[in-house]
């Protein structure tokens, strides 16, 4: 593992990028050199709250993916495994994306040789609809006037069309039930170190991206992009490395506090009685990949008189199948029409599994998925 500061040598990319445009330039290198068939990255559709995974095959189109989008809690694991399996792709990944991809690689659903993971450090994401409401309630600005947003120094910062900025402490927003999604608040994986490179502005000088190079493939990317004249690099000062480590440490400490909070037992939670058996949680889960032969589709689980299903019959099956590999992406919470905090119990069980075995889904090196490991039986 090594560190480098990088910025784009292309003015348009440098100006459009969040911190120097290094990520966009590295993606451009991969496309221009035909190392990959395409790039999967976020691009805003209607506004800054509406970033959607976009598959880019021409490097001229990469500019529309520049910038960071905290109000876009997407997941790309499913897309890569279902639709891009046979393609060579570069994918920008938050830590939970990276963890999902890693779990799917372990299950042979994604070919590791075909994928470049360009990691993006992540302090958390905000749901777009509640994010707009949050800006309406806690900021002077009109949500429609926001052109970009970022999370920095414990604040959620918005930039308006006139260039002005407003910032509110994340802690204050979260106290009021806004701010980052619940799973992001408890997430303690802030730097995607299983990605080939992990990029961000933590510890970086203005106009530069701080990159952690995690493996040989990552080093080749940096060297190649530099040789192609697309990025300029320099070594970070020790202070920058320390500063980045400090930010990560604070973020993890905040997450641990949330993890330590006590939650009611499932049997004490009213939310489960709202379940309508729509399977949205299962269908969106990037780890639940055996959807075509799912046990829950078997006739004995299809009794309409069991709506709502008992949590142990419905979620119990899913818990036993994949909770050990839960990457805490929170997609199940996001898509539940009844606002059931599904990810809470999955993440809790993953944490219990971690306490017993040390296995962190999508982070730990393990030759087999935990589903097949002896520890699962013991647990």
């Amino acid at each position: 593992m090594s560190y480098v500061l990088a910025k784009s040598q292309n003015d348009d990319i440098h100006n459009a990028g969040e911190c120097g445009g290094a990520v966009t330039s590295i993606l451009k290198y991969l496309l221009d050199e035909e190392i990959v068939d395409g790039v999967l990255a976020l691009s805003p559709q209607n506004d800054v709250y509406d970033a959607t995974p976009t598959f880019i095959t021409e490097s001229d189109d990469l500019l529309k993916t520049a910038g960071s989008y905290h109000c876009a809690p997407t997941m790309i694991g499913d897309i890569v495994q279902k639709y891009l399996f046979d393609k060579k792709v570069a994918v920008t990944v938050k830590p939970c994306d990276m963890r999902a991809v890693e779990e799917l690689i372990t299950r042979h659903k994604i070919n590791k040789d075909n994928i470049y993971l360009i990691g993006l450090n992540c302090g958390g994401t905000v749901s777009p609809v509640s994010g707009r409401k949050m800006i309406d309630l806690f900021y002077e600005a009109d949500p429609d006037d926001v052109v970009s947003e970022e999370i920095d120094k414990g604040k959620f910062i918005i930039e308006l069309a006139d260039g002005s900025e407003e910032a509110v402490k994340i802690h204050d927003l979260e106290e009021e039930g806004y701010g980052r999604r619940n799973n992001c608040q408890r997430c303690d994986v802030k730097i995607p170190r299983k990605a080939n490179i992990a990029c961000g502005n933590w510890g970086a000088e203005d106009g530069w991206t701080f990159i952690e190079i995690n493996d040989e493939k990552g080093q080749e990317l940096i060297d190649g992009a530099k040789k192609a004249g697309l990025i300029e690099t320099k070594n970070p000062a020790q202070g920058a490395i320390d500063g980045r480590e400090k930010v990560e440490g604070i973020m993890i400490k905040m997450a641990k506090k949330v993890q330590d909070a006590s939650y009611p037992l499932v049997s004490e939670m009213d939310e489960w009685s709202r379940c309508i058996s729509c399977y949205a949680c299962r269908d969106v889960c990037p780890i639940c990949w055996c959807f075509e032969n799912c046990e829950l589709n078997k006739p004995y689980f299809k009794d309409e008189t069991t709506v709502p299903p008992t949590p142990i019959a419905f979620q119990g099956v899913r818990l036993s199948h994949m909770s050990f590999s839960c990457v805490d992406c929170g997609q199940c919470d996001d898509v539940c029409p009844m606002d059931i905090p599904v990810s809470l119990i999955f993440d809790k069980l993953q944490k219990k599994y971690y306490n017993r075995t040390g296995y962190v889904a999508g982070v730990s090196d393990d030759i087999k998925p935990p589903l097949y490991s002896p520890e699962k039986t013991e647990l």
Binding site: A72, L84, P128
Partner: protein, 344 residues
Amino acid sequence: MLEIKHTLCPSCSVGCGLNVIINNGEIVGTFPYKRHPVNAGKNCLNGRNSIDCYQNKFEKAFVSKSEVDVEKAIEEVSKELNSADSSDVTLICSGSNDIEEIKAIKEFGESKNYNIAFYADNLKDFADVASYDEVAGADKVFVIGDLLYENPLIGRRIVHAKQNGAKIYALGKTENSVTFNIADETSNSSVQEFLDNNKGNIDDSSVIVFNYVDSQDDLDKIEALNCKCLPVFSKSNSKGTLGIMEAKSSDEMIELLENTKVLLVFNDDIAAELDFDFARISKIISFAPCSNKTTEISDIVVPIKTWLEKDGSFVNAMGETQMFAAAVESDVLSEIEIIEKLNG
């Protein structure tokens, strides 16, 4: 080429956003549309399965169950219409048609003096309906129908009302109503009895949300109450269609069908909705994107574009007009193009 595009869910009148995944020009899946203000990326099973219609769309037209070219089928439709007395011909519009299509069907029917009918779940239009935020902010919510199960993204607003301290009164057809699980008071009575029993509780801080009634009298009763209401229809544009023409009750529909010899059904599944012996009608002609109970009993079936293949607009249950754009290109004729051909 892989793309993700925004569209609207066509499964009921709530008006949820839906993203569709397109791979090499074909719709292959759905993806949460989290920016959409109605549902924030949450879709029920019907919504996520709504693309089945595109994936199983008709490739050919049918005349007497035999595959034919679309042009030939339209020719057959023209022949049937030309040989029939206009008073024997009935056009059925649907809440699945978009606004422009409804206008075109209506204009076509009126110009030919055909009967025009529209069925909206035995419900009707209300001038001033509650918004979804008003449901969530109500002090008391009276729920007629299993809204949590059948229209979950309205059901979610009822859950929010409950979380905000509202009292929930639920009426269901069965004991297993999911809505009962969050209700303070439940009932399996008739709608009339439910309204009568709660007359003293209903005031201007209340909202009545419903997706069925037992009779037209129930609708009048709801309209006379001193509170806002929100009828939730089973089709995406029933509210928009009601802005263009009045809906008929099930009794009125059956009376009309009894006097119909040639029935043209525009993107509807009326056979699944009405208890009527459709064999009594000499010719049934369906314009539909994919198979349903009505196309199964139709003499002529003409394929039409799905909503994913055209631009249009729906009006959702709370009266908001929502535009959508074609997600994929298609050579299939739209209903408007078919009507133009029928007009010669």
